[in-house]
Amino acid sequence: MPKDSGIGASPKRREDIRFLTGLGQYTDDISLTGETHAVFARSQVATGIIKSIDTSAAENMPGVLAVFTGDDFVDVGGNPAGWLINSRDGEPMKEPKRPVLAHGKVRHVGDAYAAVIAETAEQARDAAEAIEADIDEQPAVVDMKSALAGGALVHDEIGTNQCFDWGWIEDNRAATDAAIKSAPHVTTLELVNNRLVPNAMEPRASTGVFDPGTGDYTLYTTSQNPHLTRLLICAFVLGIPENKLRVVAPDVGGGFGSKIYHYGEEALVLSAAKKLGRPVRWTASRSESFLTDAHGRDHVTKIEIACEKDGTFLAFRTETMANVGAYLSNFSTATPTFLHGTLMAGNYTVPTLYVNVKAVFTNTAPVDAYRGAGRPEATYSLERAIDKCAQELGMDPLALRRKNFIKPDQFPYAAAAGLEYDTGNYHALVDKLEELADLSGFEARRAATKATGKLRGIGVNTYIEACGIAPSNLVGVLGSRVGLYDAATVRVNATGNISVMVGAHSHGQGHETAFPQVVADMLGIDEGSIDIVHGDTSKIPFGMGTYGSRSLAVCGSAVVRATEKIINKAKKIAAHMMEASEQDVEFSEGQFSIAGTDKSVGFGDVALKAYIPHNFPIEDIEPGLEETAFYDPANFTYPAGAYACEVEVDPDTGKVTIDRFTAVDDFGNVINPMIVTGQVHGGLAQGIGQALLENCTYDENGQILSASFMDYAMPRASDLPLYTVDHSCQTPCTHNPLGVKGCGEAGAIGSPPAVVNAVINALHSGGHTDVTHIDMPVSPARVWAAMNS
């Protein structure tokens, strides 16, 4: 019998009622008295010297209140990178300033160099067009190879386009090189992890407010991470005292990573609000989203797998160029390094590996974490290369993987890439995959497809990811400039209902439903009487936001700890009420009772007593029932999975159709299976979108060519199969109180290699055995070209 409440139940998402009935309150829905509108003037060239900006015509246009340029922000700070990466030679990474508005030089199409504030958005738009900017276009660098080979400089002051040259693990380099040199078999694969535009349904938006009476600022903004945004604005960019800035991220319509970061528009609307004494609002157009949201992926990689003739892995070596775009976005240096290199061991017992990543500045939009963030790049290169290795060795791809899996009794396992996986059972995942994907029935399906003139292929892969980001101690050693704990406050009101203030922001993850399930389960009360409060720095203690599949594993653990404190205090109150010793109080199903007696009081009575403390031992117990906990994880969590994709390829057109997709994941314990299934569905759609359709393209001059939905192909329902999703193989996380691992990114991490593996397999079945790789997206043109080359 499925549970109908608490942990393990699947109540429908309570937030969906407002989302599906148009009652969500997004940043752009917030309308304030006296509000004004900001519009940005953005560079049309990839790079150029700002010789002059004449704002006089714009300033005299109807409704215009102010015009800002980069000159107005020379005295404030820049938007910093959150991780300091050191190069192999010990040199710290190059960290050019990222100003609020471009000053002196524009560095990518869409780089804002001025902003107009006007009474209406239309007036601001007209005036922004009237700004006369004399920008002398300079040669752009777009391609990473030429950027490193002495092309024009993105940032003249740093003298190079290389941000860093990182080695992981440097001490393993010689051993890895030696193993590859002497190995009986080496598989080599060069591939591109295509650049993606996040395309959240809701574009970025920000409204800045300044109260001259109190000196307080408020920023309403589309953020996954309101506390970090506050910290960055206050400590690095504008120097506002943290106690004077409230950041509110109300309902947010999708982020996928792109709304983790602080952007210059947020600083602009706050500065303008102070100058004008009126609220200043801005909402990105879809074009601005394409141009300026931090993009994802964009790696060029060469990977080598050294193995015995029987397939036993001996060493992995990768060389990657990672595009960071024109400026360092907040997580951009962590994504290609510690979220990528540390995962290169995959699910395997490879003795040694070495990862080299060169991060490269180019005249393109900043690139940063996008659903999966580094881990899809690691998984894709490794799992594609393993498939190629299996073909070269004449082995079954699953058998090769099984042969090298970490065995269930080897956990905790110190993987060659430096992380210690606490738990897992990869054999069980693959066994389940074989069953659910009906791998034994594949040949019959292939024959049926062949009869229609098409080619059927199957692709499998496994993945490991590091989620629950992250243990502060560990990430501090690795270069993080922040801690990555989270916090929660459980406030039991006098009448027994509960508000839980959480640092994790919910923008599609279902926290408002799942977190109350946890608290309700612990307190034995109706989850309908528990609400989650999130996204407002004035209401919640602290938080590091939502990304890296961390919310439940880290913030959920803080909720557990705070609820435990509530129970402990409530026990004291209950003991007083029942005139018993605290040690004798037991708590179960919402009732405090004394063992061996018929005495008991309900949770609601205890809550009321806490707030009406008549006859209360105030020397021993404070009134009130509210507790806060900060939780810093001991380790990452390690979700893992095994995926299978079956495609049909039309040899006449090269079109790939996904017929079946099976995802078997180990997320540890599951709080709400329906939400987990939904998260996997969404991740799969994004991964399949990357594999089949999506591609962000710049021309050689740095003009972005795929800057609308006419040219950037998003996955639609008709591109996707009915998924088979399973998360019954559970090896609970050993170090957090819920035993959960996180599920938000898995689908996007695990699916791209399965799709491409399947396409290659289909082509081989049609005799195209010379095709060993096709870069994503495996569009009809690319598949057809590969078949006809």
Binding site: Q44, E129, D699, A707, M710, D711
Partner: protein, 169 residues
């Protein structure tokens, strides 16, 4: 993008060369040209209205002539700014070879676009640029061969309307 082509013009080398240097002829030949002023030696100022896919804009820009070798060829370089619509830049290297009152005009065109034009129009920009170049040199041939016919740049707006729009407007 780059493209090449040639046109055979029934006119003497001298007549073709004169036409190429004429602001009046250029105005008639640049598709969508609303205004053109200036001279061959100092360069021309032009206002051009064009629609590229979903983007319609007025481009203001300059056309300059360089690498001029009397009767043999020159380079036409132009750039236009279309405000929020973006910008276009291009050049055409023109070579003339004449025999017996027939002049072969060969052109080698390089063009690039930026801003919204590139963002929204990239799929169609190559075809558009080719059409522009073809139109320009066809009109130029007509202007040289039939100097009295002034009709070239008048019909643009109506031509673009589909039959349905023409019926309903």
């Amino acid at each position: 993008m780059k493209m090449t082509g040639s046109k055979q013009i029934t006119a003497s080398n001298e007549k073709v060369w004169q036409a190429i240097l004429s602001a009046e002829v250029l105005q008639r030949c640049v598709p969508g040209c609303q205004e053109m002023s200036g001279s061959a030696s100092e360069g021309f100022e032009a206002t051009v209205v064009q629609k590229v896919g979903p983007v319609k804009a007025t481009f203001k820009g300059q056309v300059t002539l360089s690498e001029m070798v009397q009767g043999q060829g020159l380079k036409l370089s132009g750039q236009g700014k279309g405000g929020a619509a973006g910008f276009a830049k291009g050049s055409a290297t023109v070579t003339l070879t004449s025999t017996d009152g027939i002049t072969i005009l060969s052109y080698d065109v390089e063009a690039k676009v930026g801003g919204k034009l590139a963002q929204l129009g990239s799929r169609i920009i190559d075809g558009f640029a080719k059409k522009m170049a073809d139109q320009f040199f066809e009109r130029f041939r007509d202007a040289v061969e039939n100097p009295e016919d002034q009709s070239t740049n008048e019909t643009t707006e109506d031509d673009k309307k589909g039959w349905l729009t023409k019926l309903t407007c």
